[in-house]
Structures are given as structure tokens and as C-alpha cells.
């Protein structure tokens, strides 16, 4: 067994961070209180390690673990997302001081699982990494378990998650039975048409259910709005972003077997269309901001499938790029939500009324986030959508592209309502505490808004990385 630790720099850095958090969580007394003070620096160190490790390439653990452009790209995204999620959660008002180390420990373990997921090139490894990233969330989501919504969210996430896992594992057994291998590289060379191997197609479909659950793609989306609504703002910010990145990396790896025209590819394309439409239509009527963002994420899961089914390196790169910009723009929205709801409450749309008066910077950042999620230029959301539809056009799924465009039109209304409430509605609700106007809060909002704009104006460097990763998959 070869185990070159030089190839595992980001994973090792994250594991080290988790280990320190573990020790701190075990130690009673004032030591455990200080976790949130040093953790942002630790998360930045992991991010730096991921940047340093970008060029690394190699195979480990009997070729079950692949370090390549794709995995390094996603590890960098996970490290970046983790960094922001940690910063976001450092002031979580609903969390007891003494439990902060535990909270961050679970976040760290989940992120570590996602990093492992990025490099998994074999289905069992992939499954284990997926579970590792999920278990911590089973603990984090019911943190608000004393409330009705919190308990519901926790139970739903665990039960649906367990069911999806079971289905996934069941599908894995079918794949192994049909093709006698679990290595993705070997599986990519097999025939995945229904005529050639119906067992394998059924197996892959079932296996993909697990990923669709993480991605909240229709019909595996039921947990999503409830969990967002039921968990604390900061936890929802994490659940809404990073696990999706993990699901996308797996789907991008598996996309090597999804050629345009195959029955399963077409089925995914249809799920994508239904997901977009259903998510957007449901989001239209929501008043709870997090619930609305939950349904919008169902729609965004549908958008990602446009890149996945295109069957080209550019398509996979577009899906990867879109997943990343989705994380950034969603974290931006959640950042603002967490900063406005300083007492940890769930915001409804009317709570945003007159935000531009109470905090012009947060209102502006929310505007950038909302317009980015719509896909308006010059934000990253626009570039992400442009890359998706350019990559997918002419590969047999033009109808999917048109569905995406039409769905973007539907989505305008509810994203615009975020801006509308922040800018044009009078501020009559005086019971709300003043938003967090500290330098930390505003600095974070400005930085995320700037990232959303910069990725829209200069997308090339990151997109090229994604394309190189996509090319590597296609050999």
C-alpha cells in the first residue's frame, strides 16, 4: 500500500485541525471556550495548505484514492467554504459558549469527509467518505431540537439521510454484481445502456439517489426546506453549501459514465428540469427566507445537472464552477441572514424591510447575492449559468438549456423580493434588534460580495482550473 503523505496535505491539515478541536472539546473549563478565537486562523491555514497542494497528483490506497486536478480543485473549494462557514459561525448566538469546540469539531469532520469524497475514485471509498461527511451533520442539525421545527429538521435529515444511504448501498451491490468492479475508471469503460446491462443501470440509478439526496435534487429534496428552516442560521449556511459541493464532485466523477443519449443520462436531465421548475415554483410563495433559499437550492441542483449531462469536459467544468459560485453566493446570502438575525431567529421577508437604512452594507451585499442567484451580470451567477448552457447546447439537451433559461425567469420574482424588501419597503417593525454592524460583519459581507462580483468579471483563472480537472477525467 502506497501512502504518500505529500499528496494528502489538505486532508492532513484538516485532520490536524479536527484533532485539536477534539482535544479542546474533551477538556473542560475555559480552554474549550476559546475555540472560535483561533479556529478562523486554523481554517485559513487549511485553505493555504489546499492552495499549496493544488498541483499534486497521484494514486493512493490501491488506486481507490485519486489525487488529481478535480480533487484538488474541490478540496480548495471545501477549504474556502469551511473557512467562511467557520467565520460565519463564530458568533452564533444560539450556541452555548461551552459547546463551541464540539460544534466546530463536527463541522470540521464533515468538511474532512468532503475532502476525502473529492478524491474517492472507487465506490466503497466514496460511500465511506460520504457517510463521514453526513454523520456530523446528523448531530449538528438537531441542535435546535427543543423547538418543534428544530426537532422536525433533525428527524427528517436523519431519516431521509438513512433511507438514501440504504438505497445507495443497495444500488452499489447491483453495480458490483453487474460489472464486478467498484473502480470508477473501470466502470467508465463499461456499457451503461439499458439493453446491455439493466442491472447495472438500476444499480447506478439507486446509487445516484444518495448523491441526489445530498444535492437536494427532486424527488430527494423534501428534507431541504425543512432542515434549512429548522436548523440555526449558521448551521443552515453550512448544510446549504458544502455538502452540495461534495455531491457535485461525486456526480462529476460519475459523469464519466454518463454519456449523452443514455437512458440514465436522460432521466437525470428530466429530474433536473423537474427540480428547477418545482424548486422555483415552491420558492415563489415562501415567506421564511431560509425556507425560500432551501427551495431555491432545489432549483439550483437542477441547474447543475445541465452541465453534468453534457458529456464534455467543459460541461463537467461548468458544473464544478457553478457549484463553487453557488457556494459563494449562497454563503453571502446566509452571511447577511445571520448578521441581520443577531438573536438567531428565523428571518421572514418582512424582517428585511428597510434594511438599507439599518445597514446599507448588508443590504447591498444581500442585493449582490440575490442578483447573483438570479444569474444577473456582472455577478458570478451569470457566468456560471452562461458556462452551463454553452457547454450543454448542441449535445442533445437543448430543451434542458431552454428550461434553465425559462426557470431563471421564474426565479427573478422571489430573489427580487429580497432586494425589494431591503430597499423599498418601509421599516415598520421596531421589535427587531439592530443588525450586526461590526467591522467583522461588514467586512465579511463586502469580501463575499466582492468575490461574487470578481468571479463574474474575471472567471477565467478558476474556470480554467475546473476545465483542467474535467479534461483529466476524460483522459
Amino acid at each position: 500500500m502506497n501512502l504518500d503523505l505529500a499528496l494528502l496535505v489538505p486532508e492532513c491539515a484538516m485532520l490536524l485541525l479536527v484533532a485539536v478541536l477534539f482535544v479542546q472539546a474533551l477538556s473542560a473549563g475555559p480552554a474549550s471556550v476559546a475555540a472560535h478565537r483561533w479556529l478562523p486562523l486554523g481554517a485559513l491555514a487549511v485553505l493555504a495548505a489546499s492552495v499549496v497542494a493544488l498541483p499534486a497528483e497521484g494514486m493512493l490506497l490501491w488506486d481507490a484514492y485519486k489525487v488529481d486536478g478535480l480533487s484538488q480543485f474541490f478540496k480548495l473549494c471545501v477549504a474556502g467554504g469551511f473557512c467562511i462557514a467557520v467565520l460565519n459561525a463564530t458568533r452564533q448566538p444560539t450556541l452555548e459558549e461551552g459547546k463551541r469546540a464540539d460544534y466546530f469539531l463536527f463541522l470540521g469532520v464533515s468538511a474532512w469527509g468532503l475532502m476525502l469524497l473529492a478524491s474517492s475514485a472507487e465506490l466503497v471509498t466514496l460511500y465511506l467518505a460520504l457517510e463521514l461527511s453526513s454523520y456530523s451533520l446528523y448531530v449538528l442539525i438537531p441542535l435546535r431540537g427543543r423547538t418543534r421545527e428544530g426537532a422536525e429538521a433533525g428527524v427528517k435529515y436523519i431519516l431521509f439521510g438513512a433511507a438514501a444511504t440504504a438505497i445507495s448501498l443497495y444500488g452499489l451491490s447491483y453495480i458490483m454484481a453487474a460489472h464486478q468492479t467498484t473502480y470508477i475508471a473501470a466502470l467508465a469503460a463499461r456499457d451503461w445502456s439499458w439493453a446491455a446491462s439493466p442491472t447495472a443501470v438500476v444499480g447506478l440509478s439507486l446509487f445516484l439517489c444518495g448523491m441526489f439526496y445530498k444535492l437536494a435534487l427532486f424527488p430527494f429534496h423534501f428534507w431541504c426546506p425543512d432542515v434549512y428552516q429548522g436548523s440555526s442560521n449558521e448551521t443552515a449556511a453550512y448544510v446549504a453549501t458544502l455538502p452540495k459541493l461534495g455531491a457535485v464532485v461525486v456526480l462529476v466523477r460519475l459523469a464519466a459514465v454518463l454519456h449523452p443519449g443514455l437512458e440514465i443520462t436522460t432521466a437525470i436531465a428530466w429530474l433536473g428540469v423537474i427540480s428547477m421548475t418545482f424548486g422555483n415554483l415552491c420558492a415563489l410563495v415562501q415567506k421564511d427566507v431560509k425556507r425560500m433559499l432551501g427551495f431555491s437550492s432545489v432549483a439550483h441542483a437542477g441547474y447543475v445537472t445541465v452541465g453534468l449531462v453534457s458529456g464534455t469536459a467543459e460541461g463537467l467544468a461548468a458544473a464544478a464552477f457553478y457549484a463553487l459560485v453557488y457556494v459563494v453566493m449562497n454563503l453571502l446570502c446566509f452571511w447577511v441572514v445571520a448578521r441581520v438575525a443577531v438573536d438567531g431567529r428565523n428571518l421572514v421577508l418582512s424582517d428585511l424591510n428597510g434594511l438599507h437604512r439599518r445597514s446599507p452594507v448588508l443590504a447591498f451585499a444581500l442585493g449582490v447575492g440575490a442578483f447573483a442567484l438570479v444569474g444577473l451580470p456582472p455577478t458570478a451567477g451569470f457566468m456560471g449559468k452562461l458556462f452551463l448552457i454553452t457547454a450543454a447546447w448542441n449535445h442533445g439537451y437543448n430543451w434542458l438549456v431552454i428550461a434553465l433559461a425559462l426557470n431563471s425567469a421564474i426565479a427573478i420574482y422571489y430573489y427580487l423580493s429580497l432586494v425589494r424588501h431591503a430597499y423599498t419597503e418601509p421599516d415598520e417593525n421596531t421589535s427587531l434588534p439592530a443588525p450586526d454592524q461590526s467591522a467583522f460583519s461588514l467586512g465579511g459581507a463586502v469580501a463575499l460580495a466582492a468575490a461574487t462580483l470578481v468571479l463574474g468579471i474575471v472567471p477565467s483563472p478558476l474556470f480554467e482550473k475546473a476545465v483542467q480537472a474535467g479534461m483529466a477525467l476524460f483522459g
Binding site: 444577473l376 451580470p377 431563471s408 425567469a409 420574482y413 432586494v419 425589494r420 430597499y423
Partner: protein, 519 residues
């Protein structure tokens, strides 16, 4: 003359820099002064554009790679079609700043930032030679415009702003699909490069429909016009001015820049539909305007009719028609912009836009009524004003094309005269309900009303320099169209040597032509 100066980039980014400069300012008066200075510097920065050579095609080209993987470029240039629009935008900004000086009292800084962002995006739209860059500016303009209506608008501003945003953005999503389709079919996003290529009729058919929907909403053409009166009426004066002067032109500019050169056969195929809709827009806009008692609403509906003349001129495929259309784009920008500024000035005095509340102004506000009269005359195309030149060119093309089309739009012109005369007469000589203590125009108002008046008369009395500026580009556009889609040549060309070459009146037998094209 100015080979090394990136004039167009300067024009685009100068307002952005000015907007950034406004951010730290606290005092409203300083904000207004800096904004005015920036708008005048912007106008001055457009000076190198006078070196524009009408015969030389795309000029002031700036081209660099943006996203190499997809062939996206930062590619700017102007030709005879776009240069007038760039001038119009540059010219409109200082007027908007001046007419908002006392009109806008709340959140002054943010208001001026939105105006500057709008200007930047509008210049970007008219100078982009890359489809995606064009789309970026096209959409980016929506955000400041939405805020202008939603934050500084009238009582129904929320409804109007959402309607405006939803309509225009929903239309443009299909434009994005068309843009991507062009990239896949033509291998590039570059507009000049795509103009060299020929696409199949089936492709053109769908691409035309997708683009035309976005442009028709922006123009707006009947039946996609319903957002316009709401937006115009609710927007603050400067918002209405920029909406009328520049934003609506983007739709007709889109037809000229994209539909005709990139989908020539489909343009010919759909010409009867476009002509029909244009005629309906002219008649409907005029008829509805006639029934209005709110002066701003009246001018808003008159815009639907005026823009109908523009789209009609474009889809007649006659030289005089396109000349008239382009000139009308400029004219409408100047005249309707000026009318909206006057309505703003009137509202500041009477706090009402109803005709009944603003009667008898001839006695109290002679200077105001003089300018109103001039712009009202120009609006319905009185000889000697710019409106006449533009409309007559479209009329000539319409009658050459078909007697029926010509006859159908005559009532449109009469309606325009009727509603403008009706409202102007009452404003000038009607009996005021109460004694008025209004002051006539102040120096600031003189400044922003005099400039458009000079242009009204200049274009009205001596249109030749303007026509010379646009003629070669129109020739190239139509020659290209005729080369790729068999449009019957137009016999008339004003101020051009071709004018002597008469041919029988061209009748656009579009169905037959389309059949010919498909064969």
C-alpha cells in the same frame, strides 16, 4: 486622430469611477456638483469621437481576450448606428443630473450613483461588439433602473419597478439562449465575425424569435408595452428621461445590430408581422394617449407610438426607412426626454401631473410654455423640427413599400398632433382652477431645456450632417441584407447619389420571399 486613446473604455468606466468617488461624500449639494462635473467630463471625454469616419465601418476598436476558453472578448467599437446612441447617452446624463437637482431630496448620493451606473451600462450596450459583453451591459443596466423606479418613484413605485424588472429580464433570458446558440453555430461571440457568416433559415427563425422578444419588450412594442406607462409614470423625472431617451433605444438598436445582420432571412420572413405590430403600436399608442388626463402618462403612451415608427422604419428594409428609424431614435430621445424633464419641472410647481391642475400656464410661465410648445411640435413631427425629418423618412419608405402601410400610419401622425395640441392648448390657455404663484424657469431649467431645443431645430433644419454620419452604415447594413436575403431594393435615398436611381416601388411580398429564401 486619436489612435491610442481607449475612448470607449474611458466613456464606460468614467461614470463608474465617478460613482465610486461619490460614495464617501456626505453633503448632498457636493454630491450633485460632483455628479454634474462627472457628467460634463464624460461628455468632454467623448470629444475624440468627432474623429469618427462614417465610411470606415467599425472604429475606435478595443479588443482583448476576456475568457479564452469560450472565446469571450472585451471588444468595443462604434459605427454609424451606434455612435449617435453613444452621443445621446452622454448628452442625456448632464440633463438628468440638472433636472434632478431639487426634484430628488432623499438619498441623493445613491440616486446619482444609480444614474452614473446606468450611463456606464448604456454606453457599454451601444459599443459592445461581443455578444456576451453586450448581454452583460444589457442586464447590468436593469439593477440601477429598478432602484431608480423603486426607491425614488411615485406612490405605485413598487408595482411599476417589479413589472419593469420582470418583463425585461424575462424577455432577455431567451436572448441569452440565442446568444449561446450563435456561439455554437458560428463558433464565436464576436458580432462583426458573426456578421460575416450565414446561418440556415431554421436556425435564423428561432434565433430571430428569441432575440425579437427581448428587443420588442425593451422597445416596447404592442402587446409588450404595459410595463412602460407604469414605469414612466412612477419613475422620477431623471428616470423617465433616461428610460425614454436611452433605454427604449436599446430595443430598436438590438433589431438593427442583431436581427437584421445576423438573421437576415428570418428578418425578411417576419417583416410583415413586425410591420403589423409596429402599425398597431402607432395607432394604439396614439389612441390611448389621446384619452389621458395625466400628462406624464400621455407622453409615455406617445412613446409607444413613436417607437412604433422606429420599428416600422427598420422592418421596411428601405434606406429612407432605416434612416428615419435611426434619426427617430435620436429625436425621440431628445424630445421625449425634454418633455419628461418639463413634466418634472411642472410637477415641482403644481405637485400634480393632471392637465386640469396645470392649465393656464401660458400666462404665468411663458418661457416654460415656449419650450413645451417647441417640444410638443417636435413630438408630432411639425416641419422645421427634428421629428418631422425622422417621420417623413419613415412615411416615404412606408408609402414606397405599400400604399396600405402608408395609409394605415397616417392616422397615427394625426393622432399625435391631436393629443399634443389638445394638452398643449389647455396647458397654455386653459382657465386655471386657482390663482397661480409659480415662478417661470430658473437658470438651471433654462440650461437643461435649451440644449435639447438647439438639437431639435438643428436636426429639423439641417439634418444632412446627421444623415451623412449614419448613411454609410445603413448602406452596408442593407447591402448585406440584400446580399443574404432577397429584399427588393429601395428606390429612395435622401442625400445620397443613389437617390437618382429609381426603381419600381418595392412591395415586400414576404411570404414569397421567404419561400424563395428557403428554396
Amino acid at each position: 486622430m486619436y489612435p491610442d486613446i481607449p475612448v470607449l473604455s474611458i466613456l464606460i468606466f468614467l461614470p463608474l469611477v465617478a460613482a465610486a468617488l461619490l460614495l464617501p461624500l456626505r453633503d448632498d449639494e457636493t454630491v450633485r456638483r460632483v455628479s454634474l462635473a462627472a457628467s460634463l467630463v464624460g461628455l468632454a471625454a467623448g470629444w475624440p469621437l468627432i474623429a469618427f469616419n462614417p465610411d470606415a465601418g467599425f472604429q475606435f476598436v478595443e479588443r482583448m481576450t476576456w475568457v479564452a476558453r469560450w472565446g469571450l472578448e472585451y471588444h468595443l467599437a462604434v459605427d454609424g448606428i451606434s455612435i449617435l446612441m453613444v452621443w445621446l447617452t452622454l448628452f442625456t446624463l448632464p440633463l438628468c443630473v440638472l433636472c434632478s437637482w431639487t426634484y430628488i431630496g432623499k438619498r441623493v448620493k445613491e440616486f446619482h450613483v444609480c444614474l452614473l451606473l446606468m450611463t456606464s451600462a448604456c454606453i457599454g450596450v451601444f459599443t459592445s461588439m461581443d455578444l456576451v459583453l453586450f448581454y452583460v451591459f444589457w442586464e447590468a443596466m436593469l439593477i440601477p433602473m429598478y432602484l431608480l423606479i423603486a426607491v425614488w418613484g411615485g406612490a405605485e413605485r413598487r408595482y411599476a419597478s417589479i413589472k419593469f424588472f420582470l418583463y425585461t429580464l424575462a424577455g432577455s433570458t431567451l436572448l441569452l439562449v440565442a446568444i449561446v446558440a450563435f456561439r455554437i453555430a458560428g463558433g464565436t461571440f464576436s458580432i462583426p465575425d458573426l456578421m460575416q457568416q450565414t446561418f440556415g433559415f431554421r436556425f435564423q427563425y428561432w434565433a430571430f424569435l428569441a432575440m425579437a422578444l427581448a428587443f420588442a419588450i425593451k422597445v416596447p412594442m404592442f402587446p409588450f408595452h404595459t410595463w412602460l406607462p407604469a414605469a414612466h409614470v412612477q419613475a422620477p423625472s431623471a428616470g423617465s428621461v433616461i428610460l425614454a431617451a436611452v433605454l427604449l433605444k436599446m430595443g430598436t438598436y438590438g433589431f438593427l445590430r442583431f436581427c437584421l445582420p445576423l438573421t437576415p432571412e428570418a428578418s425578411v420572413h417576419f417583416a410583415p408581422l413586425m410591420i403589423g405590430v409596429s402599425v398597431v403600436s402607432i395607432l394604439y399608442g396614439g389612441a390611448v394617449a389621446l384619452g389621458q388626463t395625466d400628462i406624464k402618462k400621455l407622453v409615455a403612451y406617445s412613446s409607444v407610438a413613436h417607437m412604433g415608427f422606429v420599428t416600422l422604419g427598420i422592418f421596411l428594409f428601405q434606406k429612407s426607412g432605416v434612416q428615419g428609424a435611426l434619426l427617430q431614435m435620436l429625436n425621440h430621445g431628445i424630445v421625449t426626454g425634454a418633455l419628461f424633464m418639463m413634466i418634472g419641472a411642472m410637477y415641482e410647481r403644481s405637485h400634480s401631473r393632471e392637465v386640469a391642475d396645470n392649465m393656464g400656464m401660458g400666462k404665468y410661465l411663458p418661457a416654460f410654455m415656449f419650450f413645451w410648445g417647441l417640444y410638443a411640435l417636435a413630438s408630432f413631427g411639425f416641419p422645421g423640427t427634428n421629428g418631422f425629418v425622422g417621420e417623413v423618412l419613415v412615411f416615404v419608405a412606408a408609402f414606397q413599400q405599400s400604399l396600405t402601410v402608408g395609409a394605415l400610419i397616417v392616422p397615427g401622425a394625426l393622432l399625435a398632433a391631436a393629443y399634443m395640441f389638445r394638452v398643449s392648448l389647455r396647458m397654455a390657455w386653459g382657465s386655471p382652477s386657482t390663482a397661480k404663484t409659480w415662478n417661470d424657469l430658473n437658470r438651471r431649467e433654462w440650461a437643461y431645456l435649451l440644449l435639447p431645443a438647439v438639437l431639435v431645430l438643428w436636426i429639423g433644419l439641417a439634418p444632412a450632417p446627421f444623415l451623412r454620419l449614419i448613411d454609410p452604415s445603413i448602406d452596408r447594413l442593407l447591402a448585406d441584407l440584400r446580399g443574404r436575403a432577397p429584399v427588393k431594393e429601395a428606390p429612395l435615398a435622401l442625400n445620397h447619389a443613389d437617390a437618382v436611381r429609381h426603381e419600381p416601388p418595392a412591395i415586400l411580398a414576404s411570404a414569397a420571399i421567404a419561400k424563395e429564401v428557403r428554396q
